[in-house]
């Protein structure tokens, strides 16, 4: 029994940062209707920036999210302005092809800069744990969960309470309508892509204290993000958040019930069930 409780706790703790990652994808899709195939690779760049700041200047990964978040924001904004903006009306396959090209460039630029060997940020507290009853908590995972939660809440408040956030939501709900009432749509798109990228960049930094990574890690996180966003409901932010926790827990339970290397199969099966019986996602009322 303790084993399962432990698995659920670990799953929830990782799920928090999955949620942040998926929030970014969901925001980008919700506003632009473009699927960001380079999502995981943007995250890997966030990871490497944190790693680099840690090794070169001793900056703690939980602090360096400020730098990585802004840097990946800029990267996202540039990709939106330079590339995505030109293919918003193009057919699906061309949008996918473009984003795959971007993913290839980002992944292999990381390979050029850091090589293929897995890296890891070895903080002093990396292996600290504490016990609550029979359940053991990893300190870095708890810290990551807490920061991810704060960032997700911050994003929520930004979208709900600020003028810019309202503009983004308006463009997401009805692009033509937002245009008609005079929204600067180009600004909104750039901002949304930037914020989506910043979310996943920060999520990457937050995972570095407990997760080894290499340039080829990116594609798996891209796929995981797709999973979460479909499960939660495309374009739904609350859905992405709940979906992240759900996928975290299901992978963690899958590792206990099956074998660890089969853990993703649980979330893929979950994805297929959702696609079949509730294609609008868990938390959306209509398609």
């Amino acid at each position: 029994m303790t084993l399962y409780v432990q698995a659920i706790v670990n799953g929830l703790l990782v799920g928090g940062v999955y949620s942040l990652m998926a929030l970014g994808l969901s925001l980008i899709f919700g506003v632009m209707r473009v699927i960001n195939f380079a999502h995981g690779d943007m995250m890997v760049w966030g990871m490497y920036l944190s790693y680099w700041l840690f090794v070169a200047a001793g900056v703690d990964p939980y602090l360096s999210i400020l730098v990585t978040g802004s840097a990946i924001f800029l990267l996202g904004a540039v990709i939106q302005r330079g590339l995505v903006n030109r293919i918003l009306e193009a057919p699906h396959e061309m949008q996918i092809l473009l984003m795959l090209g971007v993913a290839l460039v980002l992944e292999n630029a990381a390979l050029m800069a850091w090589g293929p060997d897995p890296r890891r940020v070895n903080t002093s507290y990396g292996l600290s744990t504490f016990w609550l009853g029979p359940v053991v908590f990893d300190l870095p995972r708890v810290a990551t969960f807490a920061v991810a939660l704060v960032l997700a809440l911050g994003l929520y408040l930004f979208l709900r309470r600020t003028e810019l956030g309202r503009m983004i939501r308006a463009a997401s709900d009805n692009r033509i309508g937002a245009l008609l009432v005079g929204t600067d749509i180009l600004k909104v798109f750039t901002l949304a892509f930037g914020i989506g990228a910043a979310c996943v960049g920060a999520a990457g930094s937050l995972m570095t204290p407990f997760l080894p990574f290499s340039p080829s890690t990116g594609i798996f996180f891209t796929v995981t993000s797709f999973n979460i966003v479909i499960i939660g409901g495309m374009g739904s932010l609350l859905g992405a958040f709940v979906g992240g926790l759900l996928v975290g827990v299901s992978e963690s339970l899958g590792a206990v019930i099956l074998v660890p290397s089969l853990k993703e199969i649980v979330s893929f099966i979950l994805l297929i069930l959702i696609l079949l019986f509730r294609p609008q996602g868990l938390l959306r009322s209509s398609r």
Binding site: I35, L83, R86, I87, A90, H92, E93, M94, I96, L97, L98, L100, G101, V102, A103, L104, V105, E107, N108, A109, A110, L111, M112, G115, P116, P215, I219, V223, F226, N227, I230, M234, V259, S261, L262, E264, I265, F268, I269, L271, I272, L275, L276, F277, P279
Partner: protein
């Protein structure tokens, strides 16, 4: 007339070419034909029926593993095993298609369904002892044509070319048939074609099964060309991308699109490998990625349709 002459000349050139070129170029052409073949198979579902699949690696792997396991365990020739593989791939595609099309999945949702199905296949394949797990499956080399194993590259060249011609022929037949018209109608406007009485579910299923069954023998060819299969290579999402990318670049829903796309991407890949791979690892793929982006931005309809459009605009055209 010009078309016929051009076809005859290039056909003759392709037949004598392998005897004149060095082995690296033979390899390059074999890869080109082989990816053009896979792209052509994908094209039936993706290009004609407009249902983009990001999971064709699954059908490919079924073709590769079925023939390899049947040959090593039961001594069945891969020439026959590839038909078993094609049948199994068609069955799997009907399963995925039944689920997806039944529930009306379209666009991105269908893409992600195919991706998830292929990933599940990859995870299962990694845990099947008979497929060698993480170590992969090695195929012993015995130069016996009946076992699909040949000395030298030239036989592989002609088999790949033959496969490609066959696939082009099948797609040509599909395009001329009623089935082809139905598929294009579904691609252009599914609701309208449904309203006009086209059984969209049925024809999408046929397109999917045909596409999957054609993909599987490509896997058999790969197995006996590489002599090594590993789930993280043959079933990786990147492999599904490799299969899909050539017909998109060349021009979806045309017979020459996948062929042209395969030639173009193979040349671009070889160009970036030759000139940029020497220094830093990864630079050649960065260049390749940049070239892909350029293709999307400047030839958004694909290379072949753009070429045709451009030729038609010239006065004094011979057609």
């Amino acid at each position: 007339m010009l078309r016929l002459g051009l076809g005859a000349v290039s056909g003759a050139a392709l037949l004598i070419l392998p005897f004149w070129i060095p082995s690296t170029w033979q390899n390059l052409l074999i890869t080109t034909f082989y990816y053009a073949y896979l792209g052509q198979a994908w094209n039936i579902l993706g290009g004609y029926a407009g249902q983009l699949s990001l999971g064709h690696a699954a059908f490919f792997a079924i073709g590769a593993y079925t023939s390899a396991v049947l040959a090593s365990q039961y001594g069945l020739s891969p020439w026959l095993g590839m038909f078993v593989g094609a049948g199994l791939a068609a069955l799997l595609s009907l399963g995925i298609g039944y689920l997806g099309f039944r529930f009306g999945l379209r666009g991105f949702y269908f893409i992600l369904l195919t991706l998830a199905a292929a990933e599940i296949c990859r995870l299962i394949a990694l845990h099947l002892p008979i497929l060698g797990g993480y170590t992969g499956l090695f195929i012993n080399f015995t130069p016996n044509p009946w076992q699909f194993q040949f000395q030298g590259k030239i036989p592989y060249y002609f088999i790949a070319l033959g496969f490609l011609c066959l696939a082009c022929g099948i797609v040509w037949l599909v395009q001329r048939s009623k089935l082809g018209s139905y598929l294009v109608a579904i691609r252009e406007d599914e609701d309208a074609s449904e309203a006009l009485g086209v059984n969209t579910f049925r024809y999408k299923m046929i397109a999917y099964a045909l596409s999957a069954a054609l993909t599987a023998p490509g896997g058999t060819f790969y197995a006996y060309f590489q002599f090594y299969l590993q789930p993280n290579t043959v079933l990786h999402i990147n492999h599904s991308v490799d299969i899909m990318i050539r017909p998109i670049v060349g021009g979806m829903g045309t017979i020459l699109g996948p062929v042209l796309g395969s030639f173009l991407l193979e040349l671009l890949g070889e160009f970036s490998r030759t000139y940029f791979a020497a220094g830093v690892a990864g630079l050649n793929v960065v260049i390749y990625g940049v070239l892909l982006i350029i293709v999307v931005l400047f030839l958004p309809r694909g290379v072949y349709p753009t070429l045709v459009h451009w030729l038609r605009q010239r006065p004094g055209d011979s057609r």
